[in-house]
Symmetry: none
DNA sequence: TCATCTTTATATTTTCTTTATAATCTCTTG
DNA sequence: CAAGAGATTATAAAGAAAATATAAAGATGA
């Protein structure tokens, strides 16, 4: 099912959109401030984001910018007529469409469906984890780096899944071993090292920066280049 | 250091409170909607919560109720005079104190300090230690000085952790050696000196004052510049 | 057999310790 | 109170040790 994120601080409008979308058959998450919205966005994969411009905590423009640093998910901006007119450059700054208040819910629905179709419904649904240039696809045991498919073996996938689920968290080799192998650690970090090394080699053929970062004496983590 | 959570959707008021509290020496997290606030609350341990009543997404009353299902953390409600008068029963519903808008920041501070003292400041919290400009993050083995990340090695981290856990306490080199190395002291203070020196160098690139202070003939301690 | 995983062996990198020398402080003494 | 000896600490740089990287050979299992 397609998941849609609504970031809108006005309770009534938020609720209105939410009910319309849920009736239509989407799964909906509501956020009521800029930071809250971005937080949800960062935690899960959404098929589309509805974004108000006037938000407490962080403006819609900022939210859009931060989303665009990470993802190409369709974003539809919603805002008052006068706000949007001065900000038509939003479309250049990463928004895919915009809707002015007051709006007709049917129009909103139509534009959402258009965007979803346009974006090929292929994008971020269910079982994919995204981090910067990397997309881990659970269905195929495959890692995509800038759309280049990198096949991973079972253990490689387990390790990568852990790293990508919690980027920036440092995993000791022991943790990786126990979690990826589901076995007890017996002082064998060498094997882990080999897998890491192999993955680095594969990944770096398709990316600019390095992603698997060694923290000497502690472990490894996923980190932006 | 005490961490305080502000849940207030008005950007200006949020900022005002935040700046006042940070100046006073608290670590502050700002939320701008009800759900966002509760989410933060659920993720970390805070010593105190400042809660507005009129919030998008979830009312202050609801937030308070959900907080009380989980915690006895002191909550100070902030709201407009007329709102609060009709809701004096808040104090019965879990709030520890209330402040009416417009407020004097000094009064807010006084009430916060009162609540913290009352509550014994006991709350065992997460994995960051803060001292002045410095934040030691256990997750990343990293020291932040004014938000600049300073990577520490394993031993450096151990030493810094000790110093930051008990600022102003003087550690002899022997103590540092035995605690950081988990080994017995064999008359070698030179190594400790080198590590201290290296850390000072790294830190001073990002801070104004010196933090690691030598007490001649006794040892070293963490001390504000 | 084939692909994957593990082990082995060696190279590389980073960190830790030692060494050597300079700078700083304390305390004595005139 | 100033000067200087002796002790303590600071720092740079070299050497030793530890941790990790990688290639390639061997083991395992469908």
């Amino acid at each position: 099912m397609e998941k849609i994120l609504i970031i809108e601080d006005n309770d009534e409008i938020n609720k209105l959109l939410r009910e319309m979308l849920e009736t239509t058959g989407y799964e909906v998450k509501s956020a009521f401030s800029g930071p809250e919205g971005f937080l949800y966005f960062d935690q899960e994969n959404y098929s589309l984001v509805l974004l108000d411009l006037m938000l407490p905590g962080m403006s819609g423009e900022e939210v859009l910018k931060k989303i665009r640093e990470k993802s190409t998910v369709p974003v539809i901006v919603i805002s008052a007529k006068n706000e949007i007119e001065s900000k038509l450059d939003l479309l250049e700054n990463g928004a895919d469409d915009y809707i002015t208040k007051p709006f007709d819910v049917r129009e909103v629905r139509a534009r959402i469906e258009l965007q979803l179709k346009k974006h090929g419904s292929a994008a971020g649904n269910g079982n994919k984890i995204v981090f910067e240039e990397l997309v881990l696809d659970k269905e195929n045991n495959t890692l995509f780096a800038n759309d280049a498919a990198i096949p991973l073996t079972k253990i490689e996938f387990s390790i990568m899944e852990l790293l990508m689920k919690h980027p920036n968290k440092i995993y000791s080799k022991q943790e990786l071993y126990e979690l990826a192998w589901e076995d007890h650690y017996i002082g064998e970090d060498k094997t882990v090292n080999v897998h890491i090394s192999n993955m680095r080699k594969k990944i770096s053929e398709h990316t600019k920066g390095e992603y698997i970062d060694t923290v000497w004496g502690i472990g490894v983590r996923l980190k932006k280049a």
